[in-house]
């Protein structure tokens, strides 16, 4: 049994095919990340999986229900944290949760029972009467997360859950999301923060131009797609050094006036730097971001 299954998913808007044959499979209890640059089709894929828009082709099964045909039934067991907060500004923190619970036809008494736990989870204990306008960005995000949990869902979709948050707020969200996976909930999140994906996700899919171009665990993706060591070099006279580097490393790239060298063994490169005292360098292990940039390119996507 899979929590979410998508096969050969397609969706076009006019001439533009936004999702071009996406296959996804998310196991129950898994935290699955969908990575991609802006405009890759991540949000459209999420909307398709929720049954909010109709696919032009392909099949979706969400928690055992065929979508979009029985999307309403599937959504009973699903929570959603959208990219942009859409809390009700006229309501207090608590009213937001009560009103949202009603949409699921949860008896009012049961919603009220759940509220203290949800507020505690959101780090908003004792703030039930606060107005939305008085909350910080991080608090709003956490309340949106609590709202997504009001129906005690099996699966939670999150569209860029930490975009726009400061590091403190981001770490708190990460901690809460880990708590949810420990409770056995399935998480499907989109992000373009590699650090977030590397820390949280058991498995990832990298999406670009409507297609999934790589899939696997964060470590497997790094091992499969990129050399383990990276050396970044910049400074006066880097061009001369770059010519030398090309003979010492399997892959050398120049972006602006920085040279990126990728390889198994970086030692010869480091030694070669001793005769170029004006150059600054950074030696680090390869990360998911390197994989991402290698696969999706360095061009801006706006």
């Amino acid at each position: 049994m899979t929590a979410l299954l998508a096969r050969a998913l397609r969706k076009s808007y006019g001439e533009l095919e936004v999702v071009s044959g996406v296959d996804l499979s998310v196991a129950p209890g898994e935290c699955f990340g969908l990575l991609g640059p802006n405009g890759a089709g991540k949000t459209t894929t999420l909307k398709l999986c929720l049954g909010l828009i109709e696919p032009d082709g392909g099949a979706i099964e969400l928690l055992g229900e065929p979508v979009p045909r029985r999307a309403r039934e599937a959504r009973r067991q699903v929570g959603v944290v959208p990219q942009f907060d859409n809390l009700d500004p006229d309501f207090t923190v608590e009213e937001n949760l009560v009103v949202y619970g009603r949409y699921f036809r949860i008896p009012e008494s049961r919603i009220r029972e759940r509220i203290p736990g949800l507020l505690e989870f959101a780090g908003l204990a004792g703030r039930g009467d606060a107005k939305i306008i008085t909350l910080s960005g991080g608090m709003k995000r956490r309340l949106t997360l609590a709202r997504a949990l009001v129906n005690n869902p099996q699966l939670v979709f999150m569209d860029e859950p930490t975009t726009g948050l400061d590091p403190q707020a981001r770490h708190l969200i990460w901690e809460r999301l880990r708590r949810l996976t420990q409770e056995g909930k399935t998480l499907v999140l989109t992000t373009h923060f590699m650090e977030e994906a590397e820390r949280l996700c058991h498995r990832l899919a990298i999406m670009d131009r409507g297609r999934i171009i790589a899939q696997g665990t964060p470590r497997a993706l790094i091992a499969e797609h990129i050399e383990p060591q990276v050396l970044e070099v910049h400074g006066q006279g880097y061009e001369a050094w770059m010519e030398r580097a090309k003979t010492l490393a399997p892959r050398v790239e120049r972006v602006g006036d920085t040279v990126y060298c990728y390889g198994e063994d970086i030692e010869p490169l480091l030694r070669s730097l001793s005769s170029f005292p004006d150059l600054s360098y950074l030696h680090r292990p390869a990360s998911l971001e390197d994989v991402f940039l290698k696969l999706t390119g360095r061009d801006l996507r706006d």
């Binding site: 909010l52 309403r72 949409y103």
Partner: protein, 251 residues
């Protein structure tokens, strides 16, 4: 037809209760000032219209007009703010509700709010002795019907709108002329025949045709015809609003 839309109605009701004072003031003060200002002011110059005092004549029209305005403002401006500005509809759609449920909830809500405006004006009419027969109580369901017709049409405008400016076309080109030719201020029958035909094709005229005889104290002639026109507008508006809402939310 299920009752899933009720949770949408209750959401709007809760907001209304929290902003009660401002909502009531804007929905009631305007029509009542108009009613007494024009009613007594013009009424002093006019002996009687269709056998009624001018203020009683105008009160019936004003009840329908105020109901129309409340329904239209709620479904257009407040609806657009919920749909477009606050993205409340998006949030509701993540739950097991569909756009059809939201449209139904919004229309019934706007009609309910409009009904409250209509019935408060009715209360004022009764308190000031402008209507004394129990027939006038039938204006309560009539006001709801007027509210339903204009809420449904207003919601079409809401789901078609790309921006706030869009509503001023509907208000200036539709609502204001409709108010002038529907027998609110003077009997529509004195209009040139083509204009009267236009009025008869629009909902407000039929609301006035139901409510005015009730204020005068008798059964409205052709009651079912007028009610059927209002119902037809409500039903067609509902179907079209759903059609355009689905289109808007599927892209």
């Amino acid at each position: 037809m299920t009752l899933r839309w009720v949770s949408v109605w209750r959401r709007n009701m809760l907001v209304w209760r929290k902003l009660f004072a401002a909502a009531v003031l804007s929905n009631l003060a305007d029509p009542l000032i108009m009613l007494f200002g024009l009613g007594y002011g013009l009424g002093a110059l006019l002996p009687s219209v269709e056998g009624m005092s001018y203020i009683a004549f105008f009160a019936a029209g004003q009840l329908c007009t105020a109901t129309m305005f409340t329904a239209s403002f709620e479904s257009m401006f407040s609806g657009f703010s919920r749909m477009h500005g606050q993205k409340t509809w998006d949030a509701i759609l993540y739950a097991p509700l569909t756009i059809d449920d939201i449209v139904a909830g919004e229309i019934v809500w706007a009609a309910s709010k409009a009904w409250l405006t209509g019935s408060t004006i009715l209360g004022v009419v009764v308190v000031f002795g402008l209507a004394s027969s129990p027939w006038v109580l039938l204006a309560l369901p009539a006001a709801f019907l007027v509210g339903l017709a204009f809420s449904a049409v207003g919601l079409i405008m809401c789901v078609l709108a790309r921006g706030w400016d869009f509503f001023s076309y509907y208000m200036t080109l539709m609502m204001t002329p409709m108010m002038m030719i529907s027998g609110v201020f003077f009997p529509a029958e004195q209009l040139p025949a083509p204009l009267l035909a236009v009025a008869k094709a629009l909902p407000l005229y039929h609301g006035v045709q139901i409510v005015r005889p009730l204020v005068a104290g008798g059964p409205p002639p052709d009651l079912w015809l007028h009610a059927a026109v209002l119902l037809a507008y409500a039903a067609a508006g509902y179907v079209l609003a759903i059609h355009f809402a689905r289109r808007r939310f599927s892209s």
